[in-house]
Subunit: 450 residues, 2 copies
């Protein structure tokens, strides 16, 4: 059988269970799937291919999986930083969302996010926001793989007035997109246990169970939330979700910063998944999720960037680097979270967190052809003693040369192939500019001068 695409002359990081690395390897793709891969530098003796890509000694690995984003919030990137949480949220983010977020802006914000992610090596994202139909259309047009959850919340938010309407919208969105395309997977995103009532949470989870969807929720992000949940419900946020019957293998718990040993045991027992968002948790001063302990308990932990209002980018390479270093610091042990373990979190475990591990997250015959090529002919990637080390500790998203989702090239030679980048940038700038001018002027920074 012929290949549609053959990539050769590559160091292949398969991210297989044994973390096989194939130096000087090739990979053959037919349709949307990987047909075969193996060692050997050249084309000789391989089936013919329509397109042959010479990796020139670069690293080919699975596309990265970003398990938590709010895609349209790219439009609020850097609007407000370095502020107390309440000021940031109530005086900047919420007013900006009321001004800026419409189905039209969600489309452009999502395209902007897809452009950023694709140019930084991410092939799949988990998202939760509002006007999710517009996000799904945009991600589908772009060609990125996405697990998208329409937001459920008891309060007014972009396009929804409260619990009833957001639950209805979530159900309609999910049914519209279920099995509609190969790359867009509907989901439900409950904002949090403190912005959704027990009734709302259980109805959202029921919707997920009925349709076989991933249930995403922010939980245990801060000590404040932990204390609040304890004071209202008498238990920790995780134990509260357990009591409501919300923890199972199709539940993705985002943040899990403030979890104790009992919480970890609960998550492990239910095989619920965790999304770790260290950059957001640091920037908002929330704390550090006990990832080594969660991994030791057998929990699947994926990596997330969170939205661009609290990071402020979608570069998972930087998140990998930070994750590896942060937990060494916290545990005062330089052997914690070695490079290979962090790559796993950003690929196969991220796929598992989103329920897609049979399709993506590693490079093997039969799997979806979601992959990236890292150009290593650069000073900061020279020399390379171990490709995993280069990927985690030295590469950034800007080193991604080529990116493919479901066998379709979205990036080649760092150019986006499916969209007009200038059009996206211009629309994003236009949306950001007038709507937020009043807030822009508000910025007061007591530390800016001294």
């Amino acid at each position: 059988m012929a290949f549609d695409t053959l990539i050769h002359n590559a160091t292949i990081l398969t991210c297989s269970p044994t973390f096989d690395i194939i130096p000087g390897g090739w990979i053959g793709i037919a349709g949307d799937r990987i047909l075969a891969l193996g060692p050997g530098p050249g084309q000789a003796g391989r089936p013919a291919a329509r397109l042959v890509i010479d990796a020139r000694g670069g690293i080919v690995m699975p596309g990265l999986v970003n398990t938590h984003t709010h895609l349209p919030m790219t439009l609020l990137r850097g609007l407000a930083d370095d502020l107390p949480l309440g000021v940031w949220l109530n005086e900047y983010i919420f007013p900006a969302e009321r001004t800026v977020i419409t189905p039209e802006s969600v489309r452009w914000g999502t395209l902007l996010a897809c452009a950023e992610m694709a140019l930084a090596g991410t092939t799949t994202c988990g998202d939760g926001y509002f006007y999710e139909d517009a996000a799904a259309e945009a991600a589908n047009d772009f060609g990125l793989r996405a697990v998208l959850g329409q937001g459920v919340i008891d309060f007014p938010a972009p396009g929804v007035s409260g619990a009833e309407q957001s639950l209805t919208a979530a159900g309609e969105f999910a049914r519209r997109w279920l099995h509609r395309t190969n790359t867009i997977v509907p989901s439900v995103f409950c904002h949090s246990p403190y912005t959704c009532s027990a009734d709302t949470l259980c109805r959202a989870k029921r919707l997920c169970d009925d349709l076989g969807l991933l249930f995403q929720i922010h939980v245990a992000e801060t000590q404040g939330e932990f204390d609040h949940t304890r004071s209202i419900h008498g238990v920790s946020p995780i134990a509260y979700l357990e009591r409501l019957g919300l923890l199972d293998e199709r539940t993705l718990l985002v943040h899990c910063v403030r979890v104790d040993d009992e919480d970890i045991a609960l998550i492990a027992r239910r095989n619920a998944k965790v999304s770790h968002n260290p950059e957001s948790n640091m920037k908002l001063a929330a704390g550090v999720a006990p990832v080594p302990q969660m991994l030791a308990a057998g929990i699947t932990v994926g990596l997330g960037t969170d939205g661009c209002a609290s990071n402020n980018d979608l570069d998972l390479f930087q998140t990998m680097d930070l994750t590896a270093k942060l937990h060494k610091l916290v545990r005062r042990d330089p052997t914690v979270l070695p490079a290979e373990a962090v790559i796993r979190m950003a690929t196969i475990d991220g796929a598992r967190a989103l329920g897609l591990e049979r399709e993506i997250g590693s490079l093997a015959p039969g799997k979806q052809a979601d992959l990236i090529l890292i150009d290593t002919r650069k000073p900061h990637l020279t020399p390379i003693y171990h490709p995993a080390s280069a990927v985690v500790y030295a590469a950034t998203g800007a080193d991604v040369d080529t990116l493919m989702v479901a066998g379709r090239l979205l990036v080649q030679n760092r150019r986006l192939l499916t969209v007009d980048l200038n059009q996206i940038l211009s629309h994003a700038e236009a949306i950001a500019s007038p709507g937020t001018e009043p807030m822009r002027r508000k910025r007061v920074n007591p530390h800016a001068t001294r």
Copy 2:
């Protein structure tokens, strides 16, 4: 007077004491200095210029100042990660240095480091290593600005047999390079208070005082060092240096992770400078320097990457991002170290730490023309509400389009203008390859599979 170079259509981050930002600005350069700068987008009405650079709306700011590196250790980048400190140092780094480090390899390692730094926006570095003549020649050939200290240590190290020989070599190196060029500044680098005797330290400092040089030293990096110094000398590492009379305004204290309130007061009183290297300190699990407390005490703190064996790159943009986020986390306060404060650390305060604040670190008429142009026409830098936020929280070194040192363009359109990059990469690979093959095979990673 005519300009040699005019850069226009730029958002200029001056890094002046009042942190002035000039939207739609221009900057005129003559010889090695900035002649004038101001608002106004076009060329009209400006003096003629030999070279006109259209910044196309990008950000122009002072080149970044990396206050601590070991340049030739780029050759050991990623040789060994995720290992206990003793194993890392004794089984990997020291043997590799014995095998790999020669004057010839120091030259290529330094060129590799300069290429990496220039392509990531760094115009000045502080360095401490061995065979420093070769490093100075290489940095000078490249055109980067560097404060270079020949290493002083009581034990055998590359090219030196111990205290006497390393002190002699340090003096000879310093005298050879004093006032020899505009961009290479000699210094002395004492490895640490636990690898140099009191006698060695004092003689090295005397050498610095005699010649007006910066005295660089690793100090208070770990709790282990703190305990060791207390057990031997009865005081903290900083108090020990004070007792020896080594703390003054021309002393650069590298790391300062394990310092207490009394140490901070001592550093402030003597106006000694601090180099903060958070990525290295995290990766080696050393801890976090109390930077907000040091800034509050009025201490000048610059940023450093440390060497590539413990980071593993020289990208100060990533260090800025991490610094801003890390101290918010440690202090559990999202207002700590706002973007502007971190940019100051990476520019003017870095310059001050190296004793060069009158020449570099901010953009003003009369200062050396050491500057960078950041290309902001990219998804992850769109939109921009505040340029300082974009620089710290979203940009990486790969966004640097153009870089100039002393009025001389070293990078334009991300191409290196003064060296042959392929030659450097090939030499670095050749040096790394045979010498370290035995060590490469040694890598054992217990966490790689599970």
